[in-house]
């Protein structure tokens, strides 16, 4: 069994690169959808106790729009997309400037779909790269405090209960004057982490 606490620098580099490819594809999809330039930051690997990782992402009290998908197949785990509340509103306005009726319902559906596309293109490119079959679930969405969302997602599904391994990518889709960003978190199960490293021939 691999220990996520003791990954070598080479393994971390490889995982960052894998995330880079995944998020690159996801950004391209988002860009096509919006007809705008979308930038991706260099992915970060976040590891550590739950509390510490939450604090690295945001203030636990901040309200975020969060969309969760889980994936099955050769790799298992979850992806979680977090949009700070204001950016989520901005994003829906950018995508659908003429919405008037039932704003929240339409916005919700739109954000779910955008997140679905982002997650699936991310996972598809990972699957292609690694030669693994990955099947995503339908998305589930909630708007709530980031601490509550993250801790619950990790505890409900995680195996290494209070130790998190996650890959974070930040998308930038704002104009020069107005930076907008969203966070993409990839939370693979420990066995899947092992499978990824094995495919990359970096298994110890």
């Amino acid at each position: 069994m691999i220990d996520a606490k003791r990954l070598t620098p080479e393994q971390l580099d490889a995982l960052r690169e894998v995330a880079n490819i995944g998020s690159g594809h996801a950004a391209t999809s988002l860009s096509q959808l919006m007809g705008k330039k979308v930038m991706v930051r260099v992915p970060k690997i976040l590891t550590g106790p739950l509390e510490e990782v939450i604090l690295k992402i945001a203030d636990p009290n901040d309200v975020v729009v969060s969309v969760l998908l889980y994936f099955l197949g050769d790799l298992t785990g979850r992806t979680l997309l977090l949009y700070p509340f204001e950016e989520a509103q901005e994003l829906t306005t950018l995508l659908m400037p003429t919405v008037q009726d039932n704003v929240t319902e339409v916005q919700e559906s739109l954000l779910k779909e955008v997140s679905n596309i982002l997650s699936c293109s991310y996972m598809n490119s990972l699957g292609e790269l690694l030669g693994l079959l990955i099947l995503p679930s339908v998305p589930g969405m909630i708007v709530d405090m980031v601490g509550a969302v993250l801790s619950s997602v990790v505890l409900e599904f995680g195996r290494e209960k209070d130790f998190i391994f996650c890959v974070e990518t930040e998308f930038d889709f704002g104009d020069a004057g107005k930076p907008l960003s969203a966070f993409f978190l990839l939370l693979p199960d420990t066995t899947s982490l092992e499978a990824i490293l094995k495919k990359l021939n970096l298994e110890k």
Partner: protein, 154 residues
């Protein structure tokens, strides 16, 4: 954060006396257990992650309750003076739960308190929303703030 507020992180326990507010931010499926002695104005708050685990630790209700009682007894609090409040145990993503951590956390917290014969005088549990908890030790009031359901006093 105000001067007399003290944050209790995940897997932590705090016991204080007098003009202090113990705060737990963004509680989802976690359970927050609050113990209070009204007469002495001494209170403790535990922010537990899971119903149980390998070790006896503050991350689980059993260890956390024992630790609060131990620290309160240093202040001279007798166990039969203590009352409890339980908050949290939400299921954040409905339909996605696999282990029902929230429900099990609450069940475990109730069971452990019963073992110590500590009465639970108020609860705000379950649901599908996150909560931030502010426990005012001076008057024993517990304020619960949630994004989707506003403020509530226990």
């Amino acid at each position: 954060m105000k001067e007399n507020e003290l944050r209790v992180g995940i897997g932590e326990v705090q016991v204080k006396q007098g003009d202090q507010i113990l705060v737990a931010y963004g509680v989802g499926s976690c359970v927050v257990i609050i113990l209070y002695d009204e007469e002495k104005r001494i209170g403790g708050l535990a922010h537990c992650l899971l119903p149980s685990g390998n070790k006896n630790s503050l991350k689980y209700p059993k260890g956390a309750i024992e630790e609060i009682i131990r620290q309160m007894s240093i202040f001279g609090v007798r166990k039969n003076r203590i009352v409890a409040k339980i908050v949290g145990g939400a299921t954040m993503f409905n339909g996605f739960e696999r282990h029902a951590i929230g429900r099990r956390n609450i069940k475990r917290a109730r069971e452990e308190l019963e073992k110590h014969n500590i009465p639970v005088i108020a609860e705000d549990v379950f649901g599908t929303w996150g909560r931030s908890i502010f426990f005012n030790i001076l008057n024993g009031e517990v304020r619960i703030n949630s994004y989707r359901h506003g403020n509530k006093i226990l």
